[in-house]
Amino acid sequence: MTTTDVAPGRSKLTRGRLPGFAPWVSLAVALVLGAAAVAVPGFTPFGWGIASAIIFAIVYVAWSRAVEGGRKAADKLATCLVVGAFLVALLPLVSVIWTVLVAGIPGLLTPGFFTTSMNGVTGVFDNRAVEEGGPVIGGIYHALLGTLMITLLATLISVPVGLLTSIYLVEYGQDKPLARAITFFVDVMTGIPSIVAGLFAAAFFFLVVGPGTKTGFVAAVALSVLMIPVVVRSSEEMLKIVPNELREASYALGVRKWRTILKVVIPTAISGIASGVTLAIARVIGETAPILVTAGFATTINNSPFAGWMASLPTFIYTQILNPTSPSNPAPSDQRAWGAALVLIILVMLLNLVARIVAKAFAPKTGR
């Protein structure tokens, strides 16, 4: 075997490559120049970050263009832009969560926040709280109760309808025109603006029960319109991945189709279905607009979803911010709104977490 040693010096394959430290040098340059650039209008960490990022991209890409040529520079520019896009997308997430935490914790820690409603809380109390430094009174009990009841009712309507529909699509539909139509319109339904769903429920009950019918149940119907398509889609996916061998094994034992579905197919897919339902709940629990037009907003505790206006966490946040209890001193209302926002975000995140855990923990071990 001929031994060919590596040619001394750089081979033609290495011609024109940026050294490995190039990004770091560019970054250092960018941080320094960025600080200088931002110092003129007034230094902020945020401005520094933005300026540095832009300068980094310019320095790094220009350097690459000089050493490596246009193709490599274009590749580096694309990389900078793509990474930049991701960082930009993180900004609102971090900012929202930070804002909710900072503004929400004082409200959350107020005594009675979870146990009292806004019944009888007027601007007078808020003015006094601001002027004399007294405690902010009033809480979210009525809203929390309303949210839980409305969401529960919506779930009770949506899960049977959604699950049965997905069963029809997977087990009975077999690409019939009706099944295809349902699939298509379920997809379309996921795109219905939430406020239109609310208007639909309101219009329906105005027509059937009487004008101005606004109750928790109407809100639950509105949320169901939003929730059913989500449940159908996720359950459908889950039922589809149940292996056909299972169904055939059951049929071969002389079990009828409907029992096969109930006793074999659904138990196999149950973790995925449960996870999908949880995610659907998480989606509708934060809906504001449909509740606003169907349940109005109450300040008192209403235990019946079938009579009278009902509060919910999202509409509570909305009204507290838009129409503070005391227009001259909105701070207490803001505090309550952010406290409620924090509770809502925790609820949603918990539901998402539960959905993931359910999907992971109870998944059939042999799925993939």
Binding site: A74, L93, F185, V196, V225, R259
Partner: protein, 320 residues
């Protein structure tokens, strides 16, 4: 995989006992139930349209002078339709490039080990309720961004969309559009991500083996494959942006239609309904429901086009 079916069948319990106590009627009942549920969904969608139309009719037949504004329904709805389109357009102009960038980052740039975790992070954006975005936009973003509007009005005021005087509160249609863009970003991202991941490895490798850089590979293999899917993802994002209520209702200090994006003014259909419906009665209810009907028709059309592109794309990629 090969041993799975018997074991699962056992666990799911298919004892002969079930078979014994069975009657054919159960099958009939159950399939009918499933069919009914499916039809119910179609009925609901149909019902949405019918009930909205029935309740909206008074707004179309009423004396134009009685409609808010006094010039009839068309004169009432036209500016808020335009406002809706402006807000959605701002949202898409901002969200589309960022979403595609994020989707590319997660699928083709980020280290594979953390890519799915980064996907979850972006999904968190979708989990945050819209009212919280609205509150954030109204109390944080509007305040922080208003100096930028003042600067724009002073230095770029000759462009009509930046003409001053800029809103002092920052509660403008541009702020609402930015908040909307944050809300549609996870939608466009997650769909684009799925489509980018479906790019055949064969074509990516073909490009790389020709000596393409990563970006050139993406231009040669990923984008041509993903284009229809990304277009429909953007359409779905558009549907969401058109129908989103809270971000606009809380953020925008609404008013008459104006060209300037940095002044207060403009209004969207969804926000108009949310702000007025709770206290509306009589003809006002009919007018707002009619506005909702218009919104429904617009979003329905956008969504149907998007879904149609997706389904056509599926057949296309399945055939290859």
């Amino acid at each position: 995989m090969t041993t799975a079916p018997p074991r699962q069948a056992e666990r799911a319990g298919v004892p002969a006992a079930i078979a014994a106590q069975d009657s054919p009627r159960g099958d009939k009942v159950f399939s009918t139930l499933a069919l009914t549920a499916g039809c119910l969904i179609l009925a609901v969608l149909f019902g949405v349209a019918v009930f909205l139309v029935v309740q909206a009719i008074p707004a179309f037949t009423a004396d134009p002078a009685d409609i808010q504004g006094g010039k009839g329904f068309l004169a009432y709805i036209a500016p808020i339709v335009i406002g809706t389109v402006i807000a959605a357009a701002i949202a898409l102009v901002i969200a589309t490039p960022i979403s595609i960038g994020v989707a590319l980052f997660i699928t083709h740039f980020a280290p594979r080990r953390i890519a799915s975790a980064l996907g979850y992070v972006i999904d968190l954006l979708a989990a945050i309720p819209s009212v919280i975005y609205g509150a954030w936009g109204a109390s944080f973003l509007a305040r922080e961004i208003s100096p930028a509007y003042v600067w724009l009005a002073e230095n770029a005021g000759w462009i009509p969309i930046f003409s001053g005087p800029a809103s002092a509160t920052g509660k403008t249609i541009l702020t609402a559009g930015i908040v909307l863009s944050v809300m549609v970003l996870p939608i466009i991202t997650s769909l684009s991500r799925e489509i980018f991941l479906q790019t055949p490895k064969l074509h990516e490798e073909a490009a790389l083996a020709l000596g393409a850089t990563r970006w050139e590979m993406i231009k040669m293999a990923v984008f041509p494959f993903a284009r229809p899917g990304v277009v429909s993802a953007i359409m779905l994002g558009l549907g969401r942006a058109l129908g989103e209520t809270m971000a606009v209702a809380l953020v925008l200090s609404s008013g008459a239609l104006t060209v300037s994006l940095v002044q207060s003014g403009n209004q969207t259909i969804a926000a108009e309904i949310a702000l007025n419906f709770p206290e509306a009665s009589g003809l006002k209810v009919a007018t707002l429901i009619a506005a909702g009907l218009v919104l429904f028709v617009i979003t329905l059309a956008v969504n149907m086009v998007a879904r149609w592109i997706i389904s056509r794309h599926k057949e296309f990629s399945g055939a290859n």
